[in-house]
Structure formats: C-alpha cells, structure tokens
C-alpha cells in the first residue's frame, strides 16, 4: 500500500496557517470543514489493473459514511466529496479475493491519500456429488470451509468465510473465488435459511465420503482448479430449534453452533422479527455450544447495538431437540475523552495539532482471552472515533481486559497519558497505559482520559554498517526513558525496526532524555510497540533498562526537535 500526501491537503494547511496568522492553531477545537478525495488503484496478483472492481471507502466507526464506486478500465478509482477523517478502503471483484490484512496494522487513509488494493485471483474447487449408486445429485448445496489460511494458521470462530454453490443437473458444482488456504468440502446439511431442499436435513457428507472428523483437507492456491468429488452418504440428521426471547422489532439475530468445548464451527442460522424462532437442520449426534448474537440499528446514528447470549450446551442423541430458549445480554462499553495539551515552547509555534476527526482509539485484548472468546472482535467494534469535542465511546465490548491504543496524525504531538479517573470524594487515578483495564459483563466504563501533548520530537539515525555488509534481519532499536521519575512511564518506551542499511526512525517522541540500544532476536513480548508497553513486558523492560545503563548510549531531544543523522554506536 502506497501513501501519498496530496498537494490539495498541503495547500489547505498552508492557507490555514496564512489566514489564521498568529492565531493559536493548537487551541482550535473544530477545524474548518474540508472535503477531499481518496483515490487509488485495484491491481491483480501480477500488478495489472483490475477494471470493474467494486471499491468501498468507509469512514472508520461510521455506520453510514460508506461510499462505493467502480474501478475504470485502468483499475483506477476516485471518491470525491469526503470529509476530513480516517477511512478504510476495501475492494471486491467477482472471482477475486484479497489477502486478509494484519489486524494489528489496520490501514487508514486520510483525504488526499492514494490507496493500492491488491487482489488475487481466487482458486476454484469443482467436482461431482453422487449417491451410493453413482447417480449425480441435483441441487445439493456444496460448501467449502477454510480451516487454515495460506500460512497454515488455523481459523477459529463462527462459520464465516465459507462458500456455497449448488450442484447442477449433472451433479457438478463449482465454487470459485476462494482465498488460498486449506479447505474442507461438504455436501448437504442445514443452510443459513430453511430452504425446500431434500438434502438440508441430512448430516453433511464431507469429501471424499466421510464425517467432519475424517474430512479430506483440500489445499487451494490462487487461481487454480482443484477437483473434489463427493460420494454422498445421505445420513438423516436431527434439528435443533427454539427461539431467542424478546427480540426487538428491528433486531436480527444470528445463531452460531460450534462443537462443544471447541471453536470448530458447525452451522449458523438466523432469526428475524417475522420469524417465531430458529432451527438448525442436519445435525448428527453429539454435543454442541449455541451462542446468539442480537444486533439492532440505532435509529439516529445507524450504529449497531449488539447483545450476546452465554453459550448454551446442546446435546443431540438420536432425536430432534426443540424448545431451546435463549436470552441475550447487552455488551459493555468504554468511553472517555481525548484532550489536547499544547506546548508554549517557542520552537513549537505554529505546529499543526492533531485533528480529532483523524483519530481513532483502538482497543487490544490479551491474546489468550481473544483465543478463548469465540466471537470477540470478530463482530464487535475494535475502535472508537472521537467526536468534535473529543468524546469517544467504544461499544459492544464483551467482558475482559482491554488496553487502549490511540492513533493520531500530527508529527509534533505525542501520547502523554491514558488514565481512568475514578469517581467519589477521593477519586483514584489509574494509569490505563501501564495496566489492563478490566471490563465486567455489560459494564459501561466511563471517564477514560487520553491526553495528547504538543512538543514531540523525532529521531532519524543509523548504526554503522561496513561496506558490502548488511545487518541481520530482525534487529530492533529501543528508546528507554532516562529522565528521573519517568522510568516507569510505558509511553516513553519505543521500539522500531532497524533497516538492512542500518537506518531507523522514531516519531512522536516526548521530549526528554533516553537510552538508545539495538537488540537482535528479541522475544515477541517486546517486539512491537503495543506489546512492549503491556504490563506483561515489565520484567523485559527492566532488563532492557539494565542493558542500556551499562551501554551508556544516551540522547536528549528537545521539544519539536527533528534529530537527524544520529549515529548510534553498536
């Protein structure tokens, strides 16, 4: 993905400075509304333009500002008339797929940015479904479900990312546009909605002719056809039915069935207001866990309000299960305010403050909790955007531990603190940057204060590399706070990758004194900035500090200083 600051935004900023003269820009709360565009290109795996692809440009955390357009014959697109903000760009094209992005590194676009969306031709699974006599089965639904991605990473969670096609009059099916990965292929069984289909009450037959446990694994590479025939077993299954109580008039409920005690998806179904209940068809004997997710659209913001049920254990033993009652419970939220603390240092005069509209507060959860939680983060929001007054609200959060990670765009500003101000006569102030914030089930946690301060510095430097040599990969550079009283301030710890030519960059650094050290082969807990700042990394930070104190490579950056050509001795 390529970033380009366009001339238009630059000019607008220059004009602001000129027109406003000596006005203190840092105190300006709501910037002038400006509109602009985001353009870009959609390309295929060989870098050739993809014409006729659908492109969606959506404002982060807005339920409504979602624009769509189509790429032209040269694969280009442009969406005009966008308001200042952060956007995500996605593309769709029939038979093509996108590789999933790193959820740790979401790609945000600002006005004037150019986005490049890489799509790859999906693979196809095709074959024949026949019965025990070898006769073709017509209009039986065949489903391909990805179980591992192209990197071999197992997929968990509810049944999403599965593709379905019915067989034709010759018993032939063809499922295309599949992302590279490992799939299992099944015929028959319950679908998302109840159809009039003779195979939907059967237990699915997995290729070649087996149950889920012994299903053949099918590897799909981009753009290839894989032949998979299925000999249909036609074992009648049972149904599980019931209702989700008291659903709102505008609610939609999705129900997820998984194998008991595991994250292995079995089936999904829905219940909408005009339905009196839900039903899963084609289930074999066994234990299952059932979870319901209710979503309702807020009539004025159009944002989704979600609630979840506790998992319910369902046992199927040779008969249909009826009368299941499920109740959903509202999810929790974390809300607070972002405030900007400008600096009075003369060097920082006229430096642009971050725009609240170009900010998001992202949330992170401990990996273990995330793995244990089937649905967390998959459907719930994982970021909130401050309003014009800086207030933000992260909704639809399940119980658990959270960390906040604000993102902003302003070179001379830094993240100073994240704190939770307790209530009462002696309010306690919790450092939410250094500690996990625990959210109870359905809790509405408020008073989170995120403070951004002006006066950030940047460092561009290098370590000496001998001619003709390159540095080993995986080397990183750490900044460790060296001011009295700041030793425990996790927001003053920084890590960045060391390029092969020995250069490195740090941005948005609080002014002050730091130790600088390079390290190779670091443990994952301190390999990324977010992880380095987690409570779990405290011993590693102490260790780093000890190493740094012996190496004695120190530096000091002044407010708004751009330190360039910093030479770090190894």
């Amino acid at each position: 993905m390529i970033h380009n600051r366009s001339m238009i935004v630059f000019l607008v900023l220059v004009l602001c400075v000129v027109v406003r003269g000596q006005e203190r820009l840092a105190e300006r709360k709501t910037p002038e509304p400006t509109t602009g565009s985001i353009d870009g290109k959609v390309v295929n795996e060989s870098g050739q333009p993809l014409a006729g692809a659908s492109v969606f440009v959506r404002m982060v955390n807005s339920a409504v500002l979602n624009r769509s357009t189509t790429t032209d014959m040269d694969g280009n697109f442009r969406v005009n008339g966008l308001e200042t903000g952060l956007y995500v760009v996605a593309a769709q094209a029939p038979a093509y797929t996108t590789l999933p992005g790193d959820p740790e590194k979401p790609q945000y676009y600002r006005l004037g940015d150019s986005a490049r969306v890489d799509m790859i031709r999906g693979g196809a699974i095709t074959g024949t479904v026949s019965n025990s006599m070898g006769e073709p089965l017509i209009a039986v639904r065949v489903r391909a479900t990805m179980i591992r991605d192209a990197n071999g990473k197992a997929l968990r969670g509810p049944l999403i990312g599965s593709f379905e096609q019915p067989t034709d009059d010759r018993g032939i099916y063809r499922i295309y546009g599949l992302a590279p990965g490992t799939y299992i292929v099944s015929a028959g069984g319950g679908g998302f909605i109840t159809n009039f289909n003779p195979y939907e009450s059967d237990i699915p037959t997995f290729a070649p002719s087996s149950t889920r446990d012994t299903a053949a694994e099918v590897k799909v590479l981009g753009g290839d056809d894989v032949a998979v025939d299925i000999r249909y077993r036609g074992e009648p299954g049972h149904s599980v039915s019931g209702s989700v109580a008291k659903i709102g008039n505008t609610s939609n409920v999705t129900l997820f069935l998984t194998k008991a005690g595991s994250n292995i998806p079995v089936a999904n179904t829905i219940q909408i207001p005009s339905m009196r209940g839900f039903v899963f068809n084609g289930l074999g004997d066994g234990d299952y866990d059932l979870v319901a997710q209710e979503s309702m659209t807020n009539p004025s913001t159009y944002l989704l309000v979600m609630s979840y049920s506790e998992p319910k254990r369902i046992t199927v033993r040779g008969a249909d299960v009826t009368g299941i009652e499920i109740v959903t419970k509202p999810l929790g939220s974390i809300s607070g305010k972002v405030s900007l603390e400008p600096t009075k240092v003369p060097e920082c005069e006229g430096k642009r403050p971050p725009l609240l509209s170009e900010m998001v507060v992202r949330i992170k959860r401990p990996e273990k909790e995330l793995e244990a939680d089937l649905f967390a983060m998959r459907f719930t929001a994982n970021s909130g955007s401050p309003d014009t007054g800086g207030a933000f609200n992260l909704r639809n959060l399940p119980a658990g531990r959270y960390q906040l990670e604000p993102r902003f765009y302003a070179r001379y500003w830094y993240l100073q603190s994240i704190a939770i101000n307790g209530a009462g006569p002696k309010p306690q102030r919790i450092d939410a940057a250094a500690n996990w914030t625990t959210l109870k089930s359905g809790e509405q946690l408020t008073n989170v204060a995120v403070t951004l301060a002006g006066g950030a510095a940047s460092i561009r430097g290098s370590v000496p590399v001998k001619d003709g040599e390159t540095l080993p990969t995986g080397m990183v550079v750490y900044l460790i706070p060296n001011d009295k009283g700041k030793e425990e301030d996790v927001l003053r710890y920084f890590v960045t990758e060391l390029a092969a030519d020995g250069t490195f960059t740090f941005n948005s650094i609080p002014p002050g004194r730091y130790f600088v050290i390079t390290q190779a082969n670091v443990e994952t807990q301190i390999a990324t900035l977010a992880k380095l700042r987690q409570p779990e990394a405290a011993p590693s930070r102490t260790k780093l500090r000890r190493i740094a104190e012996t190496k004695k490579s120190e530096l000091e950056v002044k407010p708004c200083q751009n330190l360039v050509d910093y030479q770090l001795k190894q």
Binding site: P33, T35, A51, G52, S54, V55, F56, R58, V64, L65, N66, R67, S68, T69, T70, V79, N80, G81, E83, Q92, P94, A95, G122, A124, I138, A139, D168, D169, R174, Y176, G177, I193, T194, F196, N197, P198, N249, N252, I270, I272, P273, S274, M275, V279, P299, S300, T301, Y302
Partner: protein, 558 residues
Amino acid sequence: MRFSTRYLFAILFASLSLPTLLSAQSVTQQPAKAPRGSVSGRVTIKEKGVAGVMVGLRKNETMPFEPIQKATTDPDGFYRITNVPPGNYDVVTAAPAYVAADKKDPRGRQILVGDDENVEGVNFALVRGGVITGRVTDADGRPVIQQQVNIYQENTSTPTPQQPQRPLFPVNTAQTDDRGIYRVYGLQAGRYKVAAGRGEDTFTGNSTGRFSYRQVFHPDVNEQEKAKAIEVSEGSEATDVDIVLGRALQTFAAAGKVVDEKGLPVPTIRFTLQRTAGQRVEFVNTLAVSNTQGDFVVEGLIPGKYGIYFFPNDNTNNLRAESSNFEIIDQDISGVVVKLTKGATVTGVVVVESEDKAVLAQLSELQIRGYIVAPGGGMVSSSSSSPIGPDGSFRLAGLGAGNLNLNIATVNRPFPPKGFSMVRIERDGAVVNRGIEIKDGEQVTGVRVVMSYGSATIRGIVTVDDGPLPPGARAAVRLSKPGETMPSVNLRSPVVDERGRFLLEGIPAGTYELITMVSIGNDPKIPARTAKRIVTVQDGSTQDITIAVEMPSTPPRP
C-alpha cells in the same frame, strides 16, 4: 454490511408487495389439537414411480424462512404428508431438473385441505426438463463473471407497434461462473430467448459497484424480437448459446445537498434512489447519506431519471423530499437539492363493527400502513405506518402527494388476523374506498377506517357441467355485496383449488354475491364462463354451497 443491506432491501420489497399479498388469502390458524389431515399422491416419470423426491406444502401466506411440511416419495414414488392443518396449500415437488409432463398440469398444485381431510391422488407426472448453456464474454472476449443470464419465453402472438407484448419477467435465470459459463436446467419444452445485461423494459436485476452492460440477446442483438429462439424439448441440451456483451455502460455521479425548509443543511439523512426505466421503477442498490455539511455524492449511476426514496421509519422525522428528481444524461451532475419538507399527515380512527371486547382488544396489536401511489400508478413514492391506539386512533406522517392506499395488518406479518376485513374508508363522512387523494403537505384529519369482524364461513365447490373441473381449468371466485356501488375494500377473493374447492373464513354476517368465473387453458377461443350466486351467512356458522358452471360444448367462432 453488504449482507444487512441486502436484507434491508428484501424487507423493503416485502413490505411494498403487501397489497398484493393481502388479497391472497385469509389466515388459517392452527387448531389446538393435532391436525389429522393429509395430502398424498405419486410422483412418476414415464408412468414409473420415482423414489426420493421431496414433496412439500407451501401455505399461501407462508413467509420466507418458515419451515414447510414435507415428505419424500418411497421406492414406488408414493408420498404422504401427514398432520396437515386445514388450509390452502401449494403442493410442490423438489425435482429441479424435471418439469411437469403436461404443460397444462403445472408443477405446483393448489389444494384446499379441509378439517382432518385426507386429500389423495395429488399426483405429479414429470419429464426431464431441457438445458440451455453457453458463455458470456465482454467486448474484449474476456469472461463476464457473476452476470445474470435471463431466459424469456418466446412470445408467439404477433406483437403490434402499440403492444410489443414482450415478456417482462424471465422464466428462469442463472449466473455465469468464473469462466463466464452459465447453465439453466429444468426448462419446460418450448422456445426461449436468452439475454444478459440490463434491459430497460424487463426486470433484469442490477447491482451497484460493478459494471453494467446493455442487454444483449443471443446471438448478438439488443432487441428481443430479433433474438434467436432456442428450441427446448424434453431432456434436450442447447449448448454454445453464447452472448457477447458490449462495452460496460458508463456511469456517473450525482452530488447534492440535503437541506431543510429554511435551506439549512441536514446531516446524516439516509436515502436511496429509484430509477424510472421504461414503464417501471427500480431501486438503485446503494445507500446515500448526507455528511455533516448535508452534502452527498452517489456514484455508479447509469443514465436515467432518478427520484429520492426515504426508508420508512428512518430518522427523517416524518420529513419527505420535495421535488428532488434529477436526470443523468452523459456526465456527472452536482447541485441536486433534496429539500426536506414536512410531509402530509393523515389522522383518524379505526372502527371495528363489533361489540365483542376480545375482538376490540385485538385492535391494539394491529398496525395501519399507508402507501402513496404516485399519479400514473405503480410507483410507491412514500409510505408510513402507525400503531393503532386503544381508542382506534392513528397518525400517518411524512407522506408525499398522491393517492393514499391503506391497509391493516399485524406488526410482523402482512396480514390482518382472521375475521378482520376492511369495509370502507371514509373521509369527513364520504366513502373513499379508491384511496385518499392527498396534496403536498396536507394535514388530513377525520379519516375513518371501518373494519368488520366476522366469523361466518362459506365452504364451496365449483362444478363444471355437473362434474369436477376439467384438466387445465382455472376457477376464480369473487365476493361482493349486492347493490353496493363502491367496491368493497377488503373482501378477499378465496383461492379455488384444482378440485374446485374454496373456503372463505372470517367473513361478517350478511348477504353476498359470489361471482364465479371458469376458464380453460389459455385458449382465447374458449371464452370464460361466469355464474352468480347469492349467499346469506350468519356469524359462527358454515354455509356449504355448490356453484355449477356450464361450459359451451363447441367453441364459438371468433
């Protein structure tokens, strides 16, 4: 997001088609005891029983997603669906590659099942349907993927310039795969025309955010009349029925502003567009939203005339767009002003002609819905719904100008409960059963919707020449009040099943005229015959009647 939008449209269309659904049939409520009715028969191919064919009962008022009663044929082709409650059903088979052997004998059969009645001999004689397959490519010879291919029945009657009589709806559709290949199977023997792309005079479906193509018929023509008809016979397969589409249609953007009556911008107003295509109106599959400055842009619009459509119950606060139609010709347009004005309101009361408290209590579970049909008909330009208060009061707001049609239904289902029917609509005492004419922003008061509650039943049978309905015959029964000059609003016509049976439930006590019309096949040389019967019914009682229709022995010369 895309998924939910699709549902939104599905629900929207479901609500738009309410008036049609309403005229269909009364609701038969499930009795407390286990029903003991059954439907049985045999499925055969060339007189040989077929095993494993699923046969199902679809109720006329079955909503999507609802499970249906079904059975599977045994090794000799026999099936029996048990525990069937009384009611009207479509009996359908799940054998998609097969069609009815006799064209006059459709795959779906209408059967009225009485209390604990065993309806036997609902047989299906099937033959293998035909197949049409081919490939769709673009002007550069590349496959067009996920393109809908429409199969139209060839029109055998000679079209005139005044009445081109093109079939509006395809009889079958398919989608091309990633190689551009489509395959349609289970086609009744006949002659078909095959097209891909968007037609202006046919329902072809559309999707925003993808290339649109002008409709092209196989082999390579835009006009349906010039298209080559594909001959399909039992079990035949027509291959290489290829279509080459032209260049993708150029699309344009429309930009504008949503403002209030004072001209001030209104943020976060969500709407969609309707495009007038020929004689019909299609929804554009995109949502437009005004931003914080009230500005909006909609991309991907093909040339045409567009209008604004607000979603019912959205947060537009009962506002409506004033004259905000625009036209896309050959370039992007800007400056479209969507001016929100207070829509017309209609207030009134719903009155039930009944003393029964239990009946009156049901009123609060009902909803009144109003649809404005624009002059010229067809297009629902705005709609509103309102709960009915304990005193029967209602208020519909945000309506545009036009003819207001009203109907009453339960909140989640498009039907009123059994026994309720709309007798008449009054405005200031005058009967306005054909709808209420509403002017821009008008505040209409004094509307009375008179409902009746009835519990009488008419159980009837239509005979032809003192015998059962001949094969291919269709009978229709219309109920009206003799001597009433204004049409009754909501006396629903019953479904007459293939055995000539019909059931009218929940009708108010009184005297009715039953007009029965029987036609045989689609042969215009055999005129339809009608018969009239006067019936008087009392609440809580069932009236059995036989309506005898005599058909002419020889068709008269035209």
